[in-house]
Symmetry: C2
Subunit: 208 residues, 2 copies
């Protein structure tokens, strides 16, 4: 029975990303997933419920990854912690690339659902990153002049291969889904960390 649920989810990811949420009907979903419309209502009530499930489950898994890495401190240093967050969240995004792209587009919308996602999951994400960065700052592992800056940059680096996949392909001729490109890209992120976070520049701490 769980298989049916997964088939509906897989179909929704494909149809929502290609035809858009509004452009997708429950009928198409049931056809694509090869299930009865009744199954969709049973598991998700309606299209909105299915859409909500996609976003919530994505961010729920994502935040859980951050939480588990965060909990490993102080056994591991803040620096190791950040590197592990990057590695594990990138892996999670790669394994759910189509969903990731859809989700990152959706959260740029101004809707009630997005507001809820932010007040729950993205507030937790901020909490973990902030805690890790401030721990490393306090322990003098590195200097973070602006937590906002660091978190925004980190977030954008991690979401770029998915949200900007076409830009990377068309303009930079990088296929963000090829393993070699991903490995190279992760090297870039780590290098950015070394360069802009794990170095100790002489800078004043500012408000943001």
């Amino acid at each position: 029975m769980e298989k049916t649920k997964q088939r509906i989810i897989d179909a929704a990811i494909i149809l929502f990303t290609t035809k858009g949420y509004d452009g997708t009907s429950i009928r198409e979903l049931s056809k694509k997933a090869n299930v009865n419309v009744g199954h969709i209502s049973y598991y998700f009530e309606n299209k909105a419920g299915l859409h909500e499930h996609l976003l919530s489950s994505f961010f729920d898994q994502y935040v859980t990854i951050l939480e588990n890495v965060y909990k490993r401190m102080p056994a591991i240093s803040a620096k190791e912690c950040i590197l592990e967050c990057v590695e594990k969240t990138m892996k999670f995004h790669r394994e759910n690339r189509q969903l990731a792209r859809y989700v990152y587009r959706e959260v740029t919308l101004d809707t009630m659902l997005v507001r809820e996602i932010m007040s729950t999951y993205l507030t937790k994400e901020k909490y973990y990153y902030k805690a890790i960065l401030e721990k490393g700052h306090k322990a003098k592992e590195f200097i973070v002049p602006s937590v906002l800056l660091a978190v925004m940059q980190l977030k954008s680096m991690i979401s770029t291969p998915f949200l900007q996949s076409q830009y990377l392909a068309e303009v930079w001729h990088i296929m963000p889904y090829e393993t070699s490109a991903i490995d190279q890209y992760e090297k870039v992120i780590v290098q950015w960390l070394e360069q802009s976070i794990f170095t100790k520049p002489k800078l004043d701490r500012i408000a943001l």
Copy 2:
């Protein structure tokens, strides 16, 4: 007569951003702009033409700003050039914030129009930033281990207040459209430049 054209554009920006492109009809556009449907077809042929005009004209103005700053070299240094690009493009985005938000969401889509935008405007954008960064690198003004890294970061920093405006508001309680917040945010970008581009870390240059 140009006033009519502008009224149609202003109406399109509002309706496309609030109701979405698909959710907006030519009839609503003509009502909102207070013009005849005939005027819309006269200036833009149809809704698709209007949509294309919004994206093209935005990126056309944006790239022209970069080009004009770029041309001021060698009169100004690469560093001054980058800082001026940031300042002027941020100003342009602020003055067109609703359009900016719409445009940045649109270019995450995988469409023919977006492909054209990328192969024309965003390829130019890459060209100017690449040229400026490499000039500064050659002139030993600063070290850029990865041009891709620098350009992607710069682009995301500049588009974040518009593409992620709700995230900034909900999660960081920053109102990205308030002058004080924008000024603070520009300070953050400049600081990031000082930190990760205008410093000279000991790093190997990598492919990306």
